[in-house]
Amino acid sequence: MSSSTDWPLWEVFVRSRRGLSHTHAGSLHAPDAEMALRNARDLYTRRSEGVSIWVVPSTEITASSPDEKDSFFEPAGDKPYRHPTFYEIPEGVKHL
C-alpha cells in the first residue's frame, strides 16, 4: 500500500491579486501537478487569497547555500554608490 508520503512535495506560489507577483505560500504533497493545484487551492486560498497559483516540484528548485551566504552576496556589499542616497545634492535642488 502506498501512502501520501510517497507523493512528491510541491512548492506553492500564490498571486494575491492582479498586479502583484506570485509569492511563496507553503508546500504540500500531491501525486501529480493537477492534484497539487487542486490541493493548493483548498489549502492556501480558502478565503480568496489568490487569483492565480503556481505549483513547482520541490526537487526542481535549486537554492543557494546558507554556508556560502557571505561570499555569495558579498560583491554587492561594498557598492553603496548603487543607491541614490550615496550622492550629495545641494539643498534646494528639486526633482532629483
Binding site: S2, S48, W54, V56
Partner: protein, 371 residues
C-alpha cells in the same frame, strides 16, 4: 523520505560541507563551536532560524516534538466538532461549522509541512500519532455533549489556542512562525463564531441558556489546562524560552487568558465555574482557583473520556482513506506529466481563463497578524 522541501534541498550538502571543512585547522570541535556561536547570535538578535541553517540537535528535536504535537492537535481537533455537523440547527451554522473543521485540517497541513523542513516525514509523524508515541492536545479528549459545546470550544478552546499561538508568530524557527501567522489570521473567525453561538443561546429560551452555561462549566477548566503545567513543573519551558521558541511562560499566558475571558463572560451573561475568581486590584489581574492537575495528568496518560475514541477514529480514517491515496498515485503513474521542459514557459504564464474576474476579488490578506 523521497522528497524534501525547497528549503531543505541542499541541506544535506550544506552539512556535508561543514563536515568536510571540520578537519581543517580548527578541527571538528572548533567548527561546532563556531556554528553554535552563529546560531546563538542569530537567536539573540531576534533573527529567524531557517531550515538549512545549522541548529543544535536538541533545538531540532524540541521543534519536531512541539510542531508534530501541534499538527496532530489540529487534525484530532476536527473530531469533536465534526460530531455536530450533521446536527447543526440551521444551514448557516452548518456551513460555518464545516468551514471551521476544514480550517482545522488546513492548519494541520501547514504545520506538518513546516515540521517536515526539520527532516521528519509526514508518514513518520502520522505513524507516531497512530502508535501513541507523539501527543496531541489533551483538550480534545473531552466529549462534545451538546450543541452548545461547539460554541464553548470556539470561544474558550480556540481562545486559549489564540493566546498561545499569537506569540508563536515570533518564534525563532522561520517555518513555524510563518505557519502560525497564517493560522492566527484564520483562528479569529473560529473564536468569534463560537462566541456568537453562545450569545444566541444565552438570549434564547431558559433551556438554551442552561445548555450554554453547562457547556461553559465543562470547558472552562480544561481550557485553562491547555496552557500546560505551572512554570515550576513544566519540563520544556525554560529551554524553549531561551531558544525563543516560546516567548511567554505557561502561567503568564494562562493569566492573560483569564483576564480576557472574564469581561467576555459577563457580556454573554454567563458565569465562569470558579468561586475563587475575583479581581485583584493590587496585582492588576484576576485571581483564580487552583487547577486540578491530577485530572490533567490522567487525561495525558490516556485516561480521559475520549482518548481511545479519538485515536481509533484517526486510525480508521487513515486506513479507510488508503484507497483514495492509492488511486491518486496509480492515476499519476498512468498519466505522467507532459515533458515539462518542452513548454516550460506555459507553467509560468497562467492562461487568462484561470484568472478570477476582478470583481470576484476579495480584500487581500489583512496585515493584522503580521504587524
Amino acid at each position: 523520505m523521497a522528497a524534501v522541501t525547497a528549503d531543505q534541498t541542499t541541506q544535506g550538502q550544506a552539512r556535508g560541507t561543514a563536515q568536510a571543512t571540520a578537519g581543517g585547522p580548527d578541527g571538528p570541535a572548533g567548527a561546532d563551536v563556531a556554528q553554535q556561536a552563529a546560531f546563538d547570535a542569530a537567536v539573540a538578535a531576534d533573527e529567524r532560524i531557517e531550515p538549512r541553517d545549522w541548529m543544535p540537535d536538541a533545538y531540532r528535536a524540541s521543534l519536531v516534538r512541539q510542531m508534530a504535537q501541534h499538527a496532530h492537535s489540529e487534525i484530532i481537533g476536527m473530531q469533536p466538532e465534526a460530531n455536530w455537523i450533521s446536527r447543526a440547527p440551521s444551514l448557516r451554522r452548518k456551513a460555518i461549522l464545516m468551514a471551521k473543521v476544514q480550517d482545522e485540517a488546513g492548519h494541520g497541513l501547514y504545520l506538518y509541512s513546516a515540521a517536515e523542513t526539520l527532516g521528519t516525514s509526514r508518514e513518520e509523524m502520522l505513524d507516531k500519532l497512530h502508535a501513541g508515541r507523539q501527543r496531541y492536545s489533551s483538550i480534545f479528549n473531552y466529549p462534545t455533549l451538546t450543541w452548545a459545546d461547539v460554541g464553548a470550544i470556539g470561544w474558550l478552546v480556540d481562545g486559549a489556542a489564540i493566546t498561545n499561538q499569537v506569540p508563536l508568530c515570533r518564534c525563532s524557527y522561520g517555518p513555524y512562525a510563518r505557519a502560525m501567522v497564517r493560522i492566527c489570521k484564520e483562528e479569529s473567525f473560529h473564536q468569534r463564531q463560537g462566541y456568537e453561538l453562545l450569545l444566541t443561546l444565552g438570549r434564547g429560551t431558559p433551556g438554551q441558556r442552561a445548555m450554554a452555561q453547562d457547556a461553559v462549566n465543562r470547558w472552562w477548566w480544561p481550557s485553562l489546562m491547555m496552557f500546560g503545567p505551572p512554570d515550576d513543573a513544566s519540563a520544556h519551558s525554560a529551554q524553549s524560552m531561551t531558544w525563543k521558541i516560546k516567548r511567554h511562560s505557561n502561567d503568564e499566558l494562562r493569566q492573560r487568558f483569564v483576564d480576557i475571558c472574564v469581561p467576555q463572560a459577563e457580556a454573554l451573561g454567563l458565569t465562569l465555574p470558579d468561586p475563587d475568581l475575583r479581581w485583584n486590584e493590587e496585582r492588576g489581574h484576576h485571581d483564580f482557583g487552583a487547577i486540578d492537575w491530577t485530572e490533567f495528568q490522567e487525561v495525558l496518560k490516556g485516561n480521559g473520556p475520549c482518548n481511545e475514541q479519538r485515536l481509533t477514529q484517526r486510525r480508521r480514517a487513515h486506513e479507510e482513506g488508503a484507497w483514495v491515496r492509492d488511486a491518486a498515485a496509480s492515476y499519476a503513474l498512468k498519466h505522467p506529466a507532459p515533458t515539462r521542459h518542452a513548454h516550460a514557459p506555459a507553467h509560468i504564464t497562467e492562461a487568462p481563463h484561470t484568472e478570477m474576474h476582478q470583481a470576484e476579488m476579495h480584500t487581500p490578506p489583512n496585515a493584522e497578524a503580521t504587524a
